[in-house]
């Protein structure tokens, strides 16, 4: 018997806080009380495939359990999808209703005719960030999503989680499910907020467990008074966790346990590392180390097999081998008894948790009439992990001032065509760009 969101809420004492922000507080009991009412108000959503659209993490958390108590498929639609990808997603997952979620409530609209369905396990559909261009849509059931969630309600009563990921992303959903599995509260910051505001909220609400990307943690460390967040547990994920950052966090939050997690939307939660060191111990790569995950390294690339991975990928493909290991696309380096992450096979650049494909940026730069050729690559950066750098061959030789002017011209040209983190932070003008024997750009 697979678990349902209603079962999870019913386990938790009603007087516990479920979610809160500066202006609102919702108890577990409030959700339990609303479930029947929601079903009565929206009977047409029962058993339907729904895509959830929102700009507010808090509103999504407020209405997610109600929608999940009736819907068959739940597509957590990320912001900024192109119309093309959106319709592809809707078609592949047979979406019948798109539900706009705002502070005041939910606004479902029918997008395709509904058809009678057989009884089936509820599916949760989560989009990847689109490392290879088009985002992939992966399908999970609640059990596989919650396999690593601890569900001790007694311990959970002392955990107060903070959310600083979007809830419709894999990492955010993991934090959310962990909080409700053990009946803990979740204090929700919004993506539009400045870090100092989020930090103040977390201090005010007594948040003691926080999961975020390394780039977010660096901003926390730069924020006055952030050491007043009384953290018992710090989790890092989504980017490579470098040793200096782990050390700085240890110093800043002396009484906190620090864990970095290896996970991906396709493979699910892989493993966590709790010893305070970057990378992971090389004995993780042996079949007996974990019961549910096995790892192997082939030609410096990490492969993972897990019973927590997505049950299905609705568009695109995941590369698996004959033994069902998934190619993670992560390059690793074995250093004595430690395995360290080096980067991505695809040359994809991870800018503060956002994956960037060099070719996409090159094609924009190359479309400028004064550019002959360009090469985009990632360079290590102390603040965002990596920063996008570009080398550009200009049609005309440029003087020093002209270079600066043309740099700003190219940045302006990229705006509107590329998200801010994709726009090269450093642009150098060069006379030639190296290519290998097959004529491909050498990126390093």
């Amino acid at each position: 018997m697979s678990s349902s969101i209603v079962d999870i809420f019913n386990r938790v004492p009603s007087d516990r806080i479920y979610i809160q922000n500066t202006s609102e507080c919702v108890f577990y009991g409030d959700v339990k009380d609303s479930i029947n009412q929601f079903r009565e108000e929206h009977p047409y959503l029962v058993g339907k495939n729904c895509s959830l659209v929102t700009n507010s993490r808090f509103s999504l958390a407020k209405f997610l359990p109600l929608i999940a108590s009736v819907a068959n498929k739940i597509l957590l639609q990320p912001k900024c999808l192109t119309d093309e990808v959106k319709s592809e997603f809707y078609e592949q997952s047979d979406i019948e209703y798109v539900i706009d979620i705002v502070e005041s409530g939910v606004f479902p609209s029918k997008v395709s005719p509904t058809s009678p369905k057989k009884e089936q396990t509820q599916e949760w559909l989560i989009s990847t960030s689109g490392t290879t261009g088009t985002p992939k849509l992966t399908s999970y059931n609640l059990d596989s999503l919650m396999k690593t969630s601890k569900n001790n309600l007694t311990k959970g009563s002392s955990f107060r989680w903070g959310l600083c990921y979007d809830l419709n992303r894999f990492a955010g959903l993991q934090v959310y499910l962990q909080a409700i599995a053990s009946g803990s509260s979740l204090t929700i910051s919004e993506s539009t907020e400045e870090v100092s505001i989020s930090v103040k909220l977390f201090i005010d609400k007594g948040v003691n467990c926080l999961s975020a990307t390394p780039s977010f943690w660096r901003k926390v460390l730069m924020t006055h008074g952030s050491n007043l967040i009384d953290l018992k547990r710090i989790t890092l994920g989504g980017e490579i966790s470098e040793q200096p950052l782990l050390d700085a966090l240890k110093k800043h939050f002396a009484s906190s346990e620090i864990v970095h997690i290896y996970a991906s939307t396709e493979a699910g939660v892989g493993f966590s590392v709790k010893d305070g060191f970057a990378g992971f111990p090389s004995d993780y790569v042996s079949s007996s180390r974990f019961s549910s995950v096995s790892l192997k390294i082939v030609n410096k690339i990490l492969w993972i097999k897990s019973d927590r991975s997505a049950s299905n990928v609705l568009n695109g493909k995941i590369e698996t081998d004959i033994d069902n290991y998934i190619n993670t696309g992560d390059i690793v380096e074995v250093n004595d008894d430690r395995i360290l992450f080096v980067g991505r096979v695809s040359g994809a650049i991870n800018v503060g948790g956002n994956k960037v494909v060099p070719e996409e940026i090159e094609s924009v730069l190359n479309s400028h009439p004064m550019v002959i050729q360009s090469k985009v690559f990632g360079k290590k950066n102390s603040f965002l992990g990596m920063l996008v750098n570009a080398e550009v061959i200009s049609k005309h030789a440029l003087g020093l001032n002209e270079k600066k002017a043309f740099k700003f011209e190219l940045i302006k040209f990229c705006k509107g065509k590329l998200e801010p983190y994709k726009i090269p932070g450093i642009i150098k003008f060069v006379e030639s760009i190296d290519v290998n024997e097959s004529g491909k750009i050498v990126r390093k």
Binding site: R218, K219, L221, M222, G352, F383, P420, I426
Partner: protein, 81 residues
């Protein structure tokens, strides 16, 4: 050093589309309230690395995350020898 950092600070602001330009910054000015976001800081550090061939944040044994403009300048002054 302060002057160079200020110049690159404004350049980074321009790159992240912030129309602000600072004629001067006080040592006590809080970095995250200047309008420069994480991306802006990443760019600032990269621009300074281009100029000075130095990223002090990668050289630190004990990592320090500056909160004010004064702290930021002090880090560069300490490592640029």
């Amino acid at each position: 050093m302060k002057q160079l950092i200020l110049e690159k600070f404004n350049e980074a602001l321009g790159q992240v589309d912030n129309s602000k330009e600072f004629k001067s910054l006080e040592d006590s000015d809080v970095l995250l309230q200047t309008g420069l976001d994480s991306l802006g800081f990443a760019i600032l550090v990269a621009l300074l690395e281009e100029e000075l061939d130095l990223d002090p944040f990668q050289l630190m044994n004990e990592p320090v995350y500056p909160k004010t403009f004064g702290e930021f300048v002090a880090i560069y002054e300490k490592y640029n020898v």
